[in-house]
């Protein structure tokens, strides 16, 4: 699994073969010839390309590519390194230098390290080129940062791709770890269908989690299978089912706020978490007329009653 587009020779610049250039010239002339012969930046190399003379290839779209049935030709970068794990580290360094990685990419990089190379950083430390990769991305070159990302090994490929495309923080999906995969897949479909924002996704994931706890897996699955008219309907239904008391108060609050029929350039803020029971009324007049309308509004007995109504929501 590899989620970022492959790096080109041009983008990589001088750093592409950094650290091994001298090897090529001084010790491995035949390898250099091979590099030229396969035209690295747009290489079409046969899939059964065998590592030769310590010239390893790393396929930019995946760790298992050399072992599974694939199309006959695949794009590859050829990296001179003593072994595959070094080539991987070098590729990572080169790729992450051309475009700074986001957290989910570190998760993917670590997953490859674990799944393909069975590399255990707790006993072996950082693999080749990872220290330099961390330093160039302005991170401390020790396992602490990586350990935090390793917590997200549970993310599926599709979830990683979504996080990557949206450039979201890993914690947006953190609650998904304890969900069954079928619910995760359906939730991802919903996120993509309604193009939910990061904040919405996080809120909805917590509400969906409550639904799983309250109703169980099957009813939650049925809920996600429902056809909702729009995103608002989906989100309102979810909140109503997961947090009925909060939902009821929120709906009351919104109704009462709407009923105030505010004069121009006036806003009323009531805490949506209901922690604070003070309303904040602001008026920013541009003309005297605005202010006169505001004054009339403030003393209007009907408005006063409606404000009382609104405040009562906070004292329920």
């Amino acid at each position: 699994m590899w989620i970022r587009p492959s790096i080109s020779y041009v983008d990589a610049g001088d750093s592409f073969l950094w650290g091994i250039e001298s090897n090529i010239f001084s010790h491995s002339h035949s390898s250099l010839s091979r590099l030229h012969s396969v035209n690295v930046q747009a290489a079409n190399v046969p899939a059964d390309y065998a590592p030769d003379n310590k010239l390893w290839v790393w396929h930019p779209t995946g760790g298992t590519v050399l072992y599974e049935s694939l199309p006959e030709t695949i794009p590859v970068l050829c990296l001179q390194a003593p072994d595959e794990i070094s080539a991987y580290g070098l590729y990572l360094k080169t790729s992450f230098r051309s475009l700074e990685p986001i957290d989910v990419e570190w998760v993917v990089a670590l997953k490859v390290l674990q799944n393909r190379f069975l590399f255990d950083p707790t006993t072996k430390g950082l693999p080749p080129f990872w220290k330099e990769t961390l330093i160039q991305t302005r991170l401390e070159p020790h396992l602490g940062f990586l350990a935090q990302r390793a917590r997200y090994f549970f993310l599926s490929t599709q979830e990683c791709v979504h996080l990557y495309r949206k450039r979201w923080d890993l914690n947006i999906f953190e609650i998904l770890e304890t969900w069954p995969m079928n619910i995760r897949e359906k939730f991802l479909v919903v996120i993509q269908k309604w193009d939910l924002s990061a904040q919405q996704t996080k809120e909805d994931s917590y509400n969906l989690h409550l639904l799983i706890k309250k109703l169980g897996i099957k009813p939650t699955e049925t809920f996600l299978n429902n056809t909702f008219k729009n995103v608002e309907e989906f989100r309102t239904s979810l909140t109503r089912m997961a947090q009925p008391e909060l939902s009821k108060l929120s709906e009351l609050r919104i109704d009462k706020l709407r009923a105030l029929k505010l004069p121009p350039r006036t806003t009323v803020f009531g805490d949506p978490t209901f922690e604070k029971d003070a309303l904040k009324i602001t008026h920013t007049p541009r003309h005297v007329r605005d202010f006169e309308l505001f004054k009339d509004w403030v003393v209007d007995p009907v408005v006063i009653e409606k404000v009382k109504d609104l405040l009562e929501v906070y004292h329920q």
């Binding site: 396992l143 602490g144 350990a147 917590r151 953190e174 770890e177 009925p244 008391e245 922690e275 329920q316």
Partner: protein, 403 residues
């Protein structure tokens, strides 16, 4: 000590740790209580900076509930020294009413394993860490007590400070006469005060050090039943052993490895009979369908078993947690029912039950305490002004402040 398993590793930060008498006392006591690792010979010197990430990676391979670094850290006992201040004002929480408590941190991490424990999202260094430079820490404690002793006369009888209110009626009168402001200091912030105390013997040393300060109260906050080792203290009236308490069902479901409800109560009775004051913290109150019934029974049981005059104070607090706790708790204890009631993210960055829900819960318990234990000072922990006003009827005065 029966609920605690032997440690898997005993580590030290450097060889100088072996020069501290506390190190040898702790190792000896670990042996006495069969808590040393199998075939233990000597402590390993470890680099603590590499331990946390190592445990985090290792946790990925572990099954529930050991699948986090903090959980694995519970199995490792690390002895080191505390370089900075070990005694400080309780950080409280932003925008909430604070009780001006002071905390002594001699241990970090806890052998108990409550599913709601905030240490799971708080500790950078996950091992069970004991600071062995106890002389430095005790001198900080004495210095702080001296400073607060000099505040004598800072309060008046009508001042109704938190200090006066947390004491019993007789304490209040005595303190009012002396014009000294009672000063509370406790050890239960980053660990349970008594869970490992038979091993460390820190509480005894603290009690000795504080005994000369008439206005000081040492609060030992625990979910354990470990009080026997304290019973021979020559002076006990300045020590308050406080139990964090919940109904038996909630202890069973959420407070793993702790003493059961009846065990805690038996320990409280033993402590009270021996001459200690006791306190109870209904904190965190946890919502469930029958919360009224179970919290009411739990309070009734306390009242039935303990003389009222021995109960110095009670506190009430609701479940509160940093948002990142929820996935961690579910990962470790999937069956937890902690987070199933409507909640919001409060101003201090912690998730709490909806204000209407917790106000209702607090009002119920507060009124019952006021009715059944009218002499016992009862206050709310880490709560907002509106909740204080709705539950207690007014805000606390002086000493309490809004942080």
């Amino acid at each position: 000590m029966s609920s605690i398993s032997p440690f898997q590793r005993i580590t030290i930060s450097n060889s100088e740790i072996l020069d501290y008498p506390a190190t040898w006392r702790i190792l000896k006591n670990l042996g006495t209580y069969n808590l040393l690792p199998p075939h233990f010979e000597e402590p390993e010197i470890v680099d603590t900076h590499t331990m946390a990430p190592t445990l985090a990676f290792q946790a990925l391979k572990e099954s529930q509930p050991h699948n986090t670094a903090v959980a694995l850290g519970k199995r490792i006992l690390h002895l080191t020294t505390q370089k900075g201040l070990s005694v400080k004002a309780c950080p409280g929480t932003n925008h909430m009413v604070c009780c001006q408590y002071h905390v002594i941190n001699m241990i970090s991490n806890c052998p108990f394993d409550c599913s709601y424990c905030y240490l799971q999202t708080y500790l950078n260094q996950p091992m069970t860490t004991i600071y062995v430079n106890e002389e430095d820490i005790l001198s900080q404690v004495v210095s702080l007590c001296k400073t607060n002793q000099n505040l004598a006369g800072a309060f008046t009888a009508e001042g109704r400070t938190a200090g006066t209110r947390v004491g019993s009626a007789s304490d209040n009168a005595r303190c009012a006469g002396d014009k000294k402001q009672p000063f509370r200091i406790g050890t239960g912030e980053l660990s349970d005060s008594l869970a490992l105390d038979p091993i460390t013997e820190f509480s005894k040393k603290l009690a000795f050090a504080m005994a000369e300060f008439e206005n000081v109260r040492l609060e030992l906050k625990t979910k354990s039943k470990n009080v026997e080792h304290l019973l021979d203290l020559p002076r006990k009236d300045h020590v308050v052993i406080a139990w964090s308490i919940n109904p038996a069902e909630i202890i069973e479901r959420e407070e793993h490895k702790t003493a059961r409800f009846d065990e805690r109560l038996r320990a409280a009775v033993l402590a009270a009979k021996a001459g200690f004051h006791v306190a109870f913290h209904f904190d965190p109150m946890i919502y469930c369908e029958n919360w009224k019934e179970i919290y009411s029974s739990a309070l009734d049981e306390i009242i039935k078993q303990l003389p009222q005059e021995k109960i110095q104070w009670m506190t009430i607090g609701g479940l509160r947690y940093q948002p990142q706790l929820k996935p961690i708790a579910y990962k470790r204890y999937p069956q937890t029912t902690l987070f199933e009631k409507d909640s919001v993210l409060a101003e201090d960055g912690k998730v709490r039950y909806l204000r209407t829900i917790r106000t209702q819960m607090f009002q119920f318990l507060y009124q019952k305490i006021k009715k059944d234990l009218p002499q016992t000072y009862t206050y709310l922990c880490m709560e907002s002004k509106p909740v204080w006003e709705n539950v207690v009827g007014h805000l606390p005065e002086r000493s309490f402040s809004v942080s």
